[in-house]
């Protein structure tokens, strides 16, 4: 199971990548996709929606169950990955490539409170 060291993580199994333009790209981890099983449906937020940290913003549904996805920091949704909506299985095959949505954070420093790869690995090991 892969936990890339260049990403940040939330305890609720989202990964967060800081882009050069200071926006954040969010997806779900390899561990999360493995636990969910075959993913068949995504419900992603509209661009322009303003969200709080920890707010439910998306839903990933596998054959088995629906899982809520949370905003890791406060900010504004600037884009959803429509290609992933059309190919939900891409989350299984490429969890760190098939992102879900992008956020313009209200406060860029908020990402410092998120887990690094070592911190997330501990959570996965304990699960």
């Amino acid at each position: 199971m892969s936990i890339p060291s260049n990403l940040r993580y939330a305890e609720s199994h989202e990964w967060i990548r800081k882009e050069p333009d200071n926006t954040l790209t969010i997806g779900i981890t390899d561990h999360a996709q493995g636990a969910l099983g075959d993913i068949v449906f995504l419900e992603l937020p509209e661009a322009g929606r303003v969200v709080k940290a920890g707010e439910e913003v998306a839903v990933v549904e596998s054959v088995k169950a629906a899982s809520d996805i949370y905003a890791p920091v406060a900010g504004e949704i600037i884009e959803a990955n429509t290609a992933a909506v059309d190919a939900p299985e891409s989350i299984n095959t490429d969890p760190y490539g098939a992102w879900l949505f992008k956020i313009k954070p209200a406060n860029l420093d908020d990402i410092d409170a998120l887990l690094d790869a070592a911190g997330y690995a501990k959570i996965v090991d304990a699960a």
């Binding site: 075959d38 549904e61 054959v63």
Partner: protein, 360 residues
Amino acid sequence: MAKQTPLYPVHAASGAKIVDFAGWDMPIHYGSQLEEHKTVRADAGMFDVSHMLPIDVCGAGAQAFLSILLANNVAKLSEEGRALYSCMLQEDGGVIDDLIVYFFAQDDYRIVVNAGTADKDVAWMREQASKLHGGNVTINPRRDLAIIAVQGPNAQAKVWAALPGTEAAASHLKYFQAARMDELMVCFTGYTGEAGYELIFPAGRAIEVWNALAAQGVAPIGLGARDTLRLEAGMNLYGQDMDESVGPLESGLAWTVDFSGERAFIGRAALEAKAPARQLVGLLLEDRGVLRSHTPVFTAHGEGETTSGSFAPSMNASIAFARVPAGVEVGDKVEVEIRGKRLAARVVKLPFVRRGKVLV
């Protein structure tokens, strides 16, 4: 501590994801539930269903006993090996379990019941036997047996290749008929809507039979795909689509209740006392989303809810069974509520899929 079937070591060694199912450690999938589903529709797959319980009902009073115990009529069975799907009802018409009963002779039947209800079923059967027929019936639970279901368009040919003698013994079988070869019972039954067999035999041979099937290219299939396959096939799941709180007439199972003649089966009086107010129907979600169980359903005749729902891999759509008011008809447009949003769905005829073909 969870119970394990004789095939548990094989599942564990194969890397299956194991979950608790009705107190049993069972494989939910061996990698991909979607792939397993598609394998059964296109080729052949095998399921360890040894958690289910065969119960032998024998003795001079067996037929009379079963004609009272079961809502379907065992008197319809006269050809050796013929089988019948039936509910076993409470006096109030609630469903204790659904089962298959096989006829071998008027004093020799075998019933196969669900895992989660097995203990309750045996206790109920013994209680009824002692009330009705005293010493004329023996009820013998067979935990010494394993059950492997082999399902798919190529399933029967692969069973014939894997298990010598089965082609001669079973190739003539009709749907819902079984043949016995010494201690191996080959049943042309299943829970997927595909052709295939359910094999019932001594548990000590389970791993040998599993490996022989695997050598013919029969893929192991977990309970996850079993659920989506049976849902597409329009087959009820006990505990989800019906239970003790609801009768067969409100569960899409009227076809399994035999009201002909005066046969006083348990639950008959209650079923005849009032017309069913609800019915179980098939739903196809027309908007994007995934139906699950207990999704609210809004119809022109009032509200209902889904009992089973899932993504249907053969259809690339979401489907469900829903218990809705009587009066709702096939073709009706209804709405379902998922995460606070109303989505469009349509009432469709069951099954959704049969023998690899999508019917809706």
